[in-house]
């Protein structure tokens, strides 16, 4: 049994230590807001926060999360910065298919938590691990700037 603290709640899971957090969240706990895209930390759809750090859950085993706090898209709105990011996303109607946006919002929230007023370059660096096939990049960037100002 491995215990994961997800969004403030402990979950005892019967999975092997090498199980990526992504599948523990989606298939065992049943939190499906965190998405599967590539399985190799290439697309960022699976981004979560591990003690506040943006982390690709598809390659991070549950063993690395014991004793730490996992935050997912389902509860990021409970934080001040997460709420501002979500509101900026709504104000600019960023989403299209929306599938990658959980990961985008998690990466953006981690960025703003650490860098409240990021430059364009800082945004590019923090966000270039998150692929959006619908190509919503211009709006993501604008929304991050709006959230920073809010």
């Amino acid at each position: 049994m491995i215990t994961l603290n997800v969004n403030g709640k402990d979950h005892a899971l019967d999975v092997t230590e090498d199980t990526p957090i992504l599948w523990a969240l989606r298939d065992v706990i049943g939190l499906t807001g965190t998405k599967f895209g590539c399985g190799k930390a290439l697309c960022g759809a699976c981004t979560i926060h591990l003690d506040g750090q943006a982390t690709r859950s598809c390659i991070t085993p549950v063993s690395l999360a014991t004793g730490k706090k996992i935050t997912t898209i389902e509860s990021i709105g409970d934080t001040d910065v997460g709420k501002r990011v979500q509101q900026a996303w709504l104000a600019l109607d960023v989403v299209q298919c929306g599938y990658c946006q959980s990961g985008q919002i998690m990466s953006a929230s981690a960025l703003l938590a650490q860098t409240p007023n990021p430059t364009d370059e800082e945004i590019d660096n923090a966000m270039s691990g998150n692929i959006c096939r619908c190509g919503t990049y211009p709006r993501i960037k604008a929304a991050i700037k709006n959230a920073a100002k809010a």
Partner: protein
Amino acid sequence: MSTPTNTPKQVETLSEQGMRRRNFIIAGVAAGGGLLIGVALPQLFDGKGDASPAKTAEDSAKNAFSPNAFIRIDKDGLVTLIMSKVEMGQGTFTSITMLIAEELGVDPAQVKLEQAPADEKKYADPLLGGQVTGGSTSIRGAWEPMRKAGAVARTLLVSAASQAWNVDAKDCRVENGYVLHTGSDKKIGYGELAEKAATLPVPQEVTLKEAKDFTLIGKPIKRVDSPQKVNGQAIYGIDVRQPNMKIATVAMSPVLGGKLVSVDDSKARDIKGVRKIVKLDDAVAVIADHMWAAKQGLAALDIKWDGGRNETLTMKDIVSQLDQASSDKGRAAPGAVARSDGSFKEAFAKADEKFEAVYQLPFLSHAAIEPMNATVHVQKDRCDVWVGTQVPALAQAGAVGITKLPPEKVFIHNHHIGGGFGRRLDVDFINQAVAIAKTVDYPVKLVWTREEDMQHGIYRPYYYDRLSAGLDKDGKITAWQHQVTGSSIMARWIPQFFKNGLDSDAVEVAKEPLYAPANIFVEYIRQEPPGMVTGWWRGVGATHNTFMVESFIDELAHKVGKDPLQYRLASMGDSPRARHVLEVAAKQAGWGQPLPKGSGRGLSVQYAFGTYVAQVAELEVKEDEVKVKRVVCVVDCGMVVNPDHVRAQMEGGINFGISGALWGEITVNNGKVEQSNFDSYRVMRMREAPVIEVHLVQSTEAPGGIGEPGTAAIAPALTNAIFAATGKRIRQLPIKNSLVAA
């Protein structure tokens, strides 16, 4: 957007009760009371194989009337739209709701959406003729019928109120779901009127609002699906959870078209959580408690494949076959003539200057960010499929074929789509999920890994096109020939419309270039590459042929020493809307103004999907790497339903097209696809995204499509800009290869 609804029953009720119909709209009592309006949307494919654009809804309704969209107003005043279109990011849920709400006089937020169940006849797309979301057709098909349906409902509700109050209907108006009496304070909600309205005669004619009176259409109304997509609550196909559900993942024959010989699963069975190994003809699936166990199980299998005849297949084979088929001498059979006006041969022979070029486009993956997946529960007397698909009726037909259950026992529950781009117009992965689920008695969610998704795609065809032009001494085009060679998507996907060897998609745009002279010849040569299954990719025929035509016209301009903008304008036929978008784009982009060395601007202009688009790309080339800095896009899509959707689709469509043009290619070696994930199939990331400026042309013309034009027009704007920047002409995509090779 889960779907279990009782809609089929309601539809049955409609016909049983002998609904009163007027043209293409019917009205009657909804199941459970209230008012039900049924709308028949027009058909592009009229059943005779004529793929001409829809004329009017009335025309197509004359033959076989069958409503395919429904509006229900229940006794509580709740308005429900039962819709066949699926939301894959294009904003259809929002914009079709706006059309109805505009005429019905309700807030779009008051309209609840339900996904229509699979029913090929009732939910047929008006332009595509099947139950399909694709081809940038949703708004074009819905524009008039959906507004009329709203107007019929409004008229019935007003009649019901005026009768109840014993006043003239002319003295009544609607507002936010209420009928109000002008001259008194009488006011009554739609819910209270619904039942009475349902018994009144359907109006012979309804008057639609004039554009000047629109309160919703033309406004940037917020997307209805945004809130649930920013907090993880939106449910995509891959998010479906069912009681006792297990997860499956597959390995398919690495060699395309290969078969499974044998599997040693002894090690896999020992892995914790692995439940079952399922052998299919061309694949092995592992069913497990969760995806990790399934993946571990798959990795532990010892599989023997028989690659079959594609085991030695290379790109060289595929391209040389295309080259041979495309040449006048080498081809096995004559091409199918798409257009022949005047005499190309005579005009070309007489021309003062002759110019010929070969252009090539690679196979492409859609690489939708949600990998292919489907959840299926096969039981003795029914089959449930939870999936995000652009074609629910095809999904149903596939499941019927595999389970041998009657169609009415196969239920397709459609969901949000994490990227369609044409990939989810095919149902290969759904059929596979049904075949796997058939072997067990519990629900199974099949999830493809990214690697299987990329290596077993339905790829955009490889095209190998020859263009030839004859010019007179002033540089005027007198002869034009376009020979398209590639696989036929239509022959595979919609064979009844593949006629006399002609694939109308393969010659889209090529058949009607904006620069067509009196002597023009366009033909299609079908050449199917071994092993590769090819299909629709965002922008379809226009993505292919706008690259060809807009590259070629640019080359001709430079050949005769003319400015590419002026040469296009001078060569264009009578097309004021094309001329206008081009002129505005050039002006907004600062066409002609100097740029630093190594930078350039490139143009493209296109008419496709009922929409005119012009783009100017500005980029910099440094050490064989292209940095796209700015794209100006001017779009005339007729009447705009939601300007913010148009902007969003242009922005996203352009970025999608840039990814494909710069880096996109699927290649085959020894019969295996060489790309496997986003490391080997590069797509655009944030730092590579240009500034995009979208300008909308005010227009009162009928709405055009917006999902695809942005993607289709961008590639030649890039290659033309690279020519301006470096003098290198790129005739083969992706740009990354040609730039190094050039």
